[in-house]
């Protein structure tokens, strides 16, 4: 079966820094895929390229059989490609509820009134109900991350790109998050998850990729990949430098 999202031969450099060097990636429908890699490896840039906020120097992005390489972000979103940002990007002057309503109404083209009910349910699911009428700018980091996820889900995505949603969470919060993500996936959403909190990732994904120097250097079963010599070398090497 054709993948739901595919990056084909993607290259991108910022000045002299190569962040993507002929990258290929295929996400099957219903799959949950994890990406790890050292800071600055180009993980977030990859999401930018997939969702239209960063233009690649070369290569193509295919979503559900359609070339979306040059499509602006809002069109990618409306097709069903949602993204959460590593640094949460709330609409800070709007309430938590309004944040989610914006995403639900504009990503799906639905009328505002028709999304109120599903948005309320979504806030409940993401543990934000008590803060529905608070200004998003006043939220704690944890709640901002929850909102980031809630807003991405409100767009009713077919593919969800998660960028470090577990960082800074306690053990318990992390477990709640993993449960939520598994739940989303069970609802038929395909997922790519970039994460440094490896144990959270391992609990939720069926395939793990390692990005280093603009290339995937490992790809396969999460537990095998995490024990592979390449991964050990990269992370140990970094530890030794620090």
């Amino acid at each position: 079966m054709a993948p739901i999202l595919a990056l084909e031969n993607i290259s991108k450099r910022f000045g002299a820094v190569v962040v993507a060097d002929g990258i290929g990636l295929a996400l099957a429908e219903g799959e949950a895929l994890g990406i790890i890699g050292p800071n600055g490896a180009g993980k977030t840039t990859l999401f930018g390229i997939a969702t239209g906020t960063v233009a690649p120097d070369a290569g193509r992005v295919i979503f559900a059989g359609q070339d979306i390489t040059r499509l602006p972000p809002e069109r990618c979103c409306r097709l069903g490609l949602a993204r959460s940002f590593q640094v949460p990007q709330p609409f800070s002057g709007m309430t938590v509820f309004e944040n989610v309503v914006v995403a639900a109404a504009f990503a799906t083209g639905a009328s505002e009134a028709s999304v109120y009910e599903p948005c309320a349910d979504l806030l409940d699911r993401c543990g934000l109900m008590a803060k529905a009428n608070q200004r998003a700018g006043g939220l704690t980091l944890l709640d901002r991350k929850r909102l980031e996820l809630a807003r991405a889900l409100a767009t009713k995505p077919r593919v969800l790109l998660l960028d470090e949603v577990a960082g800074g969470l306690t053990e318990h919060e992390c477990a709640v998050l993993v449960r939520l993500i598994k739940d989303v996936r069970a609802g038929g959403v395909s997922i790519i998850w970039i994460e440094h909190v490896v144990h959270a990732l391992l609990a939720a994904v069926d395939r793990l990729l390692v990005l280093h120097g603009g290339k995937f250097i490992a790809d396969g079963d999460p537990r095998t990949v995490i024990r592979s010599p390449q991964v050990a070398e990269i992370y140990m090497g970094i530890a030794a430098d620090a």
Binding site: T51, T53, P72, P73, E74, C77, R78, R83, F85, Q89, P90, F91, S92, G93, M94, T95, F97, E98, V101, V102, A103, A105, F106, A107, T108, S111, E112, A113, Y116, E117, A120, L123, M129, A132, N133, R151, T155
Partner: protein, 342 residues
Amino acid sequence: MSRVEHATRSSRIGVALIGVALIVLALAPFWGDRQMLRLLAEVFTFVALASLWNLLAGYAGLVSVGQQAFVGLGGYLLFALVILAGVHPIVAILIAGPIGALVAVPVAALIFRLRGAYFAIGTWVVAEVFRLLASQISVLGGGSGISLPAAMVVAMAPSRQAREFEIYWLALALTAAVLGTIVALLRSRHGLALTAIRDNELAAQSNGIDVTRIKLIVYVLTGFGTAMIGALIFLMKLRISPDTAFSVNDWTAFVIFITVIGGIGRIEGPIVGTIVFFIMRQTLADLGSLYLLIMGAVAIVVMLWAPKGLWGLIAERFGWQALPLQRRLVLAPKTEEPGERS
């Protein structure tokens, strides 16, 4: 089931106060003298100009320093229509709106290619081009300007007093219409998008909002309103010249000052800002150029101490909104817990 409400207690009070203020202002010809009416009408035009600029810069992120292009355009359209075509001045003001919107389309096509500071400079350049073009129109006085012929002014109303009342009510009605349109816009679906763009353009795009389209709509709409207010301003002045019509100082610098000290990105901001601006102007005008220095100092202090403006400070501290723009989720008691209502 959950419900969504727009109004809060503060907005109910706000709307009631605005309603009372509108009635009191509509009756001003019966309690105020000529000076008062003239001053109030000028206040209204600045409330309208600042509200339009706020929509443009505060919400859509289009920091234009060239809105004088549309003020001047409106003013010149009024004079051209009245002098050259014999149109009634009030009709001319109404025509200035659509033409302002029409002109905004090609201007947008040009300046929307520019970003940030380049956009700001681009808008100013466009306004200067408009000023130079206006000075080439010899039938409208060229570079030295022209007055509205006395006969046409007199023909507006049976007496001088009636004419002054008419212009006053026109200023109040136009300003109320501009504010009403902005409130309606912000409460609509477009307003939801616009508020999202105000807060975070990147996130707005990534959540399915066509940011460029909304910006274009706002730019054209602002061109419409600004040209109409421009025509009104020069009907009140009765004289126009390229330098007064396209003055960056009067129609942009003061307007930015008003919006910034009042609270940018909030609908209440320009109203608060205009009141502060006029209080300062009326009390400090005798000081000459010192007055401008004080105003600059006030702007700097407000920007440092309350970067979201005076209204922003109040709104954030007390959670106030004077107009019912927010969508608040009201949780009805769950069905399995009947009667649990506070």
